[in-house]
C-alpha cells in the first residue's frame, strides 16, 4: 500500500477532498492549521488565519498503489492551479 501526503491551502481543501472521494480512496485524515514555506517562497503563518488567507492543510491518504494513477490525474491540475505539493511513500498496515 501507499501513503500519500498532500499539502494545500485550507481554502482549497474542500475541492481536494471532493476529488479524493471521486477517486474512491478508502479514507483520509486532515490536519489543518499547518504553516510552512513553499517553492514560491511564500510563508504561511497562523497569524493570518483570521483573514482570507487561511493556513495550510495536510491531508494523509493510505491507499492501494493502484489508486495513485487516478489520484495523480485528478489532483495534479488542482495543485498546478492553486499550489501545494504531493508526495508518495510506501506503507503497510500494522
Amino acid at each position: 500500500m501507499k501513503r500519500l501526503d498532500l499539502l494545500v491551502n485550507e481554502r482549497e481543501l474542500e475541492l481536494l477532498l471532493k476529488r479524493l472521494e471521486q477517486v474512491g480512496v478508502p479514507g483520509y485524515s486532515v490536519n489543518r492549521h499547518v504553516t510552512g514555506r513553499g517553492g514560491s517562497g511564500t510563508v504561511v503563518s497562523e497569524a493570518m488565519e483570521f483573514s482570507g488567507f487561511g493556513a495550510n492543510a495536510h491531508v494523509i491518504v493510505f491507499c492501494d498503489s493502484s489508486l495513485l494513477e487516478p489520484l495523480a490525474a485528478e489532483l495534479k491540475p488542482l495543485l498546478k492551479t492553486y499550489g501545494g505539493v504531493a508526495y508518495v511513500s510506501d506503507a503497510k498496515p500494522l
Binding site: 481554502r11 492549521h33 497569524a47 483570521f50 483573514s51
Partner: protein
C-alpha cells in the same frame, strides 16, 4: 491638520495597542495572539457592529437620505476598482491588477469600527445606517475584479473555479459578508419585533466592544508589522499606491458626502469606507477565483500599509478636513 485630533487619536487605547503589536514585531518579542483567538475577536466585532447597526437602522428607517447614501456607497464600490485597475495595469499583469483593484474597491470593517470609536470619544454622532453602507460595499468590488479578469484574460485556461456561480458565492456568502449582513438583519428584526432583546445583548455587543477592539488591534499591529517586511519587496510603486489611494478615494468620498449633505460623523465614516481596503473578504475570494495573482501583493499592501495609514493618520486627517470643508454640516 488639527494636532489635537491627531493626538486624541494617537493616544487612544485602540491605537496604542495597535502600536504595541507593531513594536512587538519590530523589537522581536515572541508576543503572539495564537489562532483562532484573532478569529474570535473578528467574528465578535462583525457580529456586534452588524447587530447594533441593524438596531439603529430600524430606528432611522430607509428614508431618501439613507438610500442616497447607500447608493453613493455602491457607486464608489464599482468606480474605485475600475479606476484602480486602469492605474495598476501600468505596472502589473491583469491578475494582480484586478486583485489589488478588488481589495481597494472593497472595505475594511475594522477601519470603520476604529473610526466609529473615534467619533464616539469626540461625541460626534453618526448614523446606524452607515453599517448598511459598510455591508453593501464589501461585495461589489469582488464582482468587478472578476469581470475585469474575465474580460482582459479570456484565454486563461479553465484551471480555477471561476464560473459566475462560484464568483457570486464568494462575493455574497463569504463568512465576513454573511455574518455582517446576517447580524444587521437580526438587529433590524429584534428592534422591530422583540426590543427587549436589545438590552439583553447590550453588555456583550456594547460595553465589551471597545476593549475587544483594543485586543484585536494588538493582533492587527502584529500582523501588519509582519506584512510590512513583505511589502518592501513589492517595490516603491505599490507602497506609493497603498498610501495615495486612500487619500484620493477619501477626497472623492468627501465630495460625495458634501453633495449629499452628510453629517460630519457620517461623512467621516463614508470617507473611511472609500479609503480603506479589504484584507479579509477580498483576499478570501481572490485566492479562489484569481489564483494567478500573488496574494502577498494584495494582502500586504492592504494590511501592512493602507490599514495602519488609515487608522493612524487617515482618520484624524479626514476629520480635520471635514471640520473645515463641511463646517455647517448638520451634526
Amino acid at each position: 491638520m488639527d494636532t489635537a485630533l491627531v493626538l486624541q487619536n494617537l493616544l487612544s487605547p485602540a491605537i496604542l495597542f495597535f502600536f504595541l503589536g507593531v513594536f512587538a514585531v519590530l523589537l522581536g518579542s515572541d508576543l503572539e495572539i495564537p489562532a483562532p483567538l484573532p478569529k474570535l475577536f473578528s467574528l465578535y466585532l462583525l457580529l456586534s457592529i452588524g447587530f447594533k447597526g441593524g438596531v439603529e437602522l430600524q430606528a432611522s428607517g430607509l428614508g431618501p437620505d439613507v438610500l442616497l447614501t447607500i447608493g453613493a456607497a455602491l457607486l464608489m464600490a464599482v468606480l474605485v476598482p475600475l479606476a484602480a485597475f486602469a492605474l495598476l495595469r501600468t505596472q502589473f499583469d491583469v491578475f494582480n491588477a484586478a486583485a489589488l483593484a478588488g481589495a481597494y474597491g472593497s472595505i475594511s470593517a475594522v477601519t470603520f469600527i476604529t473610526a466609529e470609536s473615534f467619533l464616539r470619544v469626540l461625541q460626534i454622532p453618526s448614523d446606524g445606517y452607515m453599517v448598511a453602507a459598510l455591508a453593501l460595499m464589501e461585495s461589489p468590488a469582488i464582482i468587478v475584479a472578476l469581470l475585469l479578469v474575465k474580460l482582459a484574460a479570456q484565454d486563461r485556461g479553465a484551471a480555477a473555479d471561476t464560473g459566475w456561480g462560484s464568483v457570486l458565492h464568494e462575493a455574497f456568502l463569504n463568512s465576513s459578508v454573511f455574518l455582517l449582513v446576517g447580524s444587521l438583519l437580526i438587529g433590524l428584526l429584534v428592534a422591530q419585533y422583540s426590543p427587549s432583546g436589545i438590552a439583553k445583548m447590550e453588555p456583550f455587543t456594547g460595553q465589551l466592544f471597545y476593549g475587544a477592539l483594543c485586543f484585536f488591534l494588538l493582533d492587527m499591529g502584529i500582523v501588519a508589522a509582519q506584512r510590512l517586511a513583505d511589502l518592501k519587496q513589492a517595490g516603491a510603486f505599490l507602497i506609493g499606491f497603498s498610501l495615495l489611494t486612500p487619500l484620493v478615494n477619501a477626497s472623492v468620498g468627501l465630495g460625495l458626502a458634501s453633495v449629499l449633505h452628510l453629517s460630519q460623523g457620517n461623512a467621516l465614516l463614508f470617507m473611511v469606507l472609500c479609503a480603506s481596503a479589504s484584507y479579509i473578504a477580498v483576499p478570501a475570494a481572490m485566492r479562489m477565483t484569481v489564483p494567478e495573482a500573488n496574494p502577498s501583493l494584495y494582502i500586504s499592501s492592504a494590511l501592512g500599509m493602507t490599514f495602519p495609514f488609515n487608522i493612524i493618520v487617515g482618520i484624524p486627517l479626514y476629520l480635520s478636513v471635514i471640520e473645515r470643508v463641511l463646517p455647517g454640516a448638520s451634526l
